[in-house]
């Protein structure tokens, strides 16, 4: 990864933002590393956009600071920050051609003529739209518009790139393709990315680090593998797709035990939990079960058809078990 010369460290220090009595950001602090792909992950309303907009300069925090290198930019005008941004819905200028859209930030910086033409051509090349320069945004598909927004946000060599759910409007297949492209682009330009999403799969597959947000706070910050294997609390575990939380009376130990559906398995007679199958779904080579224990707890487990000796049906009683290495203990909260 070759570092961009513009790339200075961004540091968000204890920012708060209130709307009336509602606390949209609550003491949010984060040091963004040079050149990293940082993802803000959280459910709707958790403050991701508010945080990103504060960094971009469209929202002024009530307290706290935002530093770029040694410079305090908390109240700097958005146009003075030199941050690229890809907006949700792209916000391409409808009256300008693709080429003019990408040239816009250069024009605003007084860069014209051959230098501008060359930069625009390079940026469009980088996103694979070299031949679409003369089109208007409305003449492009969603994925192509997304790429134009990307080219426009990096053509002026910004300090960093902010992306607010850039792929959420696209269908699954295209999204997967663009995820790969974004990662390639991140490596190619060596720019710091701050990426907002509420899709945990996207966050896990693309990021160097993930900040999980809830109710205006960052509840956990770490590498994808760390989050996946050691979620800090039940919220993070649930958000990253852990299905089962076993209480003390089932496990005989203090607190909750988090077990993924994939780690809970059928166990003949020796299983530690007995339950009754209430629902089952076929998903290709695997069946996803929902079962109820006697005390009314709903559990999920998966069964691979390949190594199943017996396929339990609805209302059948089963016993379930897990391996200690697959289980995560939490304090009950």
């Amino acid at each position: 990864m070759h570092a961009n010369p513009n790339d200075q460290t961004l540091s968000v220090q204890g920012i708060n933002k209130r709307y009336g009595t509602f606390q949209a950001l609550n003491d949010v602090g984060i040091d963004v590393k040079r050149g990293e792909f940082l993802t803000l992950l959280g459910p709707s309303g958790s403050g991701k956009t508010t945080l990103l907009m504060s960094v971009a300069g469209f929202i002024q925090p009530d307290s706290g600071r935002i530093m770029l290198g040694a410079q305090d930019i908390t109240f700097a005008a958005p146009e003075k920050r030199n941050f690229g941004m890809v907006f949700q819905g792209y916000a391409l200028f409808p009256h300008l051609k693709v080429r003019e859209n990408v040239a816009f930030p250069l024009k605003m910086r007084g860069i014209r003529g051959a230098a501008a033409t060359k930069s625009v051509a390079e940026a469009l090349e980088l996103v694979g739209l070299a031949d679409k320069g003369e089109r208007y945004p409305r003449e492009l598909s969603g994925g192509q518009q997304q790429r134009v927004a990307l080219a426009r946000a990096i053509v002026f060599q910004p300090h960093l790139l902010l992306l607010d759910e850039p792929l959420s409007a696209l269908d699954t297949q295209l999204r997967g393709q663009l995820q790969t492209e974004l990662k390639r682009l991140h490596r190619a330009v060596g720019l710091t990315f701050i990426y907002v999403t509420h899709d945990q799969g996207e966050a896990l597959s693309m990021s160097d680090r993930i900040a999980v947000m809830k109710d205006g706070r960052i509840v956990q910050l770490g590498a994808p593998s760390a989050l996946y294997n050691r979620p800090a609390n039940r919220f993070v575990a649930e958000f990253l797709g852990v299905e089962n939380f076993l209480p003390e009376r089932l496990t005989g130990r203090q607190g909750l035990l988090a077990v993924r559906a994939s780690a809970l398995s059928l166990a003949g007679k020796a299983g530690r939990i007995s339950a009754r199958v209430s629902d089952l779904d076929y998903h290709g080579a695997e069946i996803r079960y929902t079962a109820q224990t006697e005390c009314g707890l709903s559990l999920r487990f998966n069964l691979s058809l390949r190594d199943a000796a017996h396929v339990p049906q609805e209302n059948e009683n089963v016993t379930l078990d897990w391996q200690e290495k697959d289980a995560l203990p939490f304090p009950a909260a």
Binding site: A56, G57, F58, A77, P78, E79, R81, N82, F83, G84, M85, F87, Q88, G89, A91, L92, F93, P94, H95, F104, P105, K107, M108, R109, R152, A153, F156
Partner: protein
């Protein structure tokens, strides 16, 4: 939308539509005919048509001076309310909250009040400023009463504009002024042009305020026509009216064309 869903209008609908059109256009045809009269008073042509009143119109220094005065007043007041109305509409759009709606409603007051009330009020206030019987007085009054047209048309254009466009422009390095000039205005140009056309037409044929505020010095075209009717039923008036209609049609056609081009 889809053409396949359109039904052929029934005979009733068609006749009704034509009746409405006739109702709207008939007075105009009368005025046009009267302007071609060969008699010395306001009447339909009897022996044959004559262009004498058009000749009179374009050679009379009084009528020409009124045309010129109305043109200057309409142009300057349109420029003023064009700039202010556009900026006000953009401001409301950016605020976007309840307050903006209140401001927008306030902007429409001149349209909702009978112009008589407005003229009376303006007369009182202008008298204090020494603006009665001056160009300044009537230009400012017309700029105020023309404002609603601009605010309405520009707001309508803005309603379809994504507020993120301005944020995008700022993020990409444009100052507030640059984003206004390079992003917002180009995207609402049709609305601005419509507003200017309506404001111009408004000032061009406004009579009540002109009667109140204009004294000896300012003699706008509608006022000259008014006097013409009251004093000597001069058919020149009909010629003026025809020219006015013609001009309005040209302006509306231009507006229609310019707006159509962008869509």
């Amino acid at each position: 939308m889809s053409d396949t869903l359109r039904q052929e209008p029934t005979i009733v609908t068609k006749s009704l539509a034509w009746a409405v059109i006739c109702y709207l256009v008939l007075p105009i045809t009368v005025v046009v005919s009267v302007s071609l009269t060969d008699r010395p008073y306001l009447s339909l042509p009897s022996e044959g048509v004559s262009l004498q009143y058009y000749e009179k119109l374009f050679t009379s220094s009084e009528w020409l001076s009124s045309i010129w005065q109305s043109f200057v007043i309409a142009t300057v007041s349109t420029a003023i309310c064009g700039v202010l109305g556009t900026l006000a509409a953009i401001g409301c759009w950016r605020i976007g909250s309840g307050l903006a709606n209140v401001v927008r409603m306030a902007m429409l007051i001149p349209l909702m009040l009978p112009s008589m009330i407005y003229a009376l009020g303006a007369y009182q206030v202008w008298a204090g400023f020494g603006w009665v019987n001056t160009y300044t007085g009537i230009i400012i009054a017309h700029a105020m009463t023309g404002m609603p047209y601009v605010v309405i048309t520009v707001s309508t254009s803005l309603a379809g504009l994504d507020p993120k466009l301005e944020q995008a422009a700022r993020n990409l390095g444009a100052t507030m002024g640059q984003s206004l000039r390079h992003v917002i205005i180009p995207n609402i140009r049709p609305g601005v042009i419509s507003g200017l056309v309506f404001a111009f037409i408004h000032s061009w044929d406004e009579l009540v305020i002109a009667l109140f505020i204009a004294g000896r010095n300012v003699f706008t075209l509608p006022r000259r026509m008014w006097d013409g009717i009251n004093e000597h039923l001069d058919p020149t008036m009909a010629a003026v009216a025809t020219v006015l209609i013609f001009l309005t049609v040209i302006l509306l056609a231009a507006e229609f064309f310019l707006r159509g081009k962008k869509r």
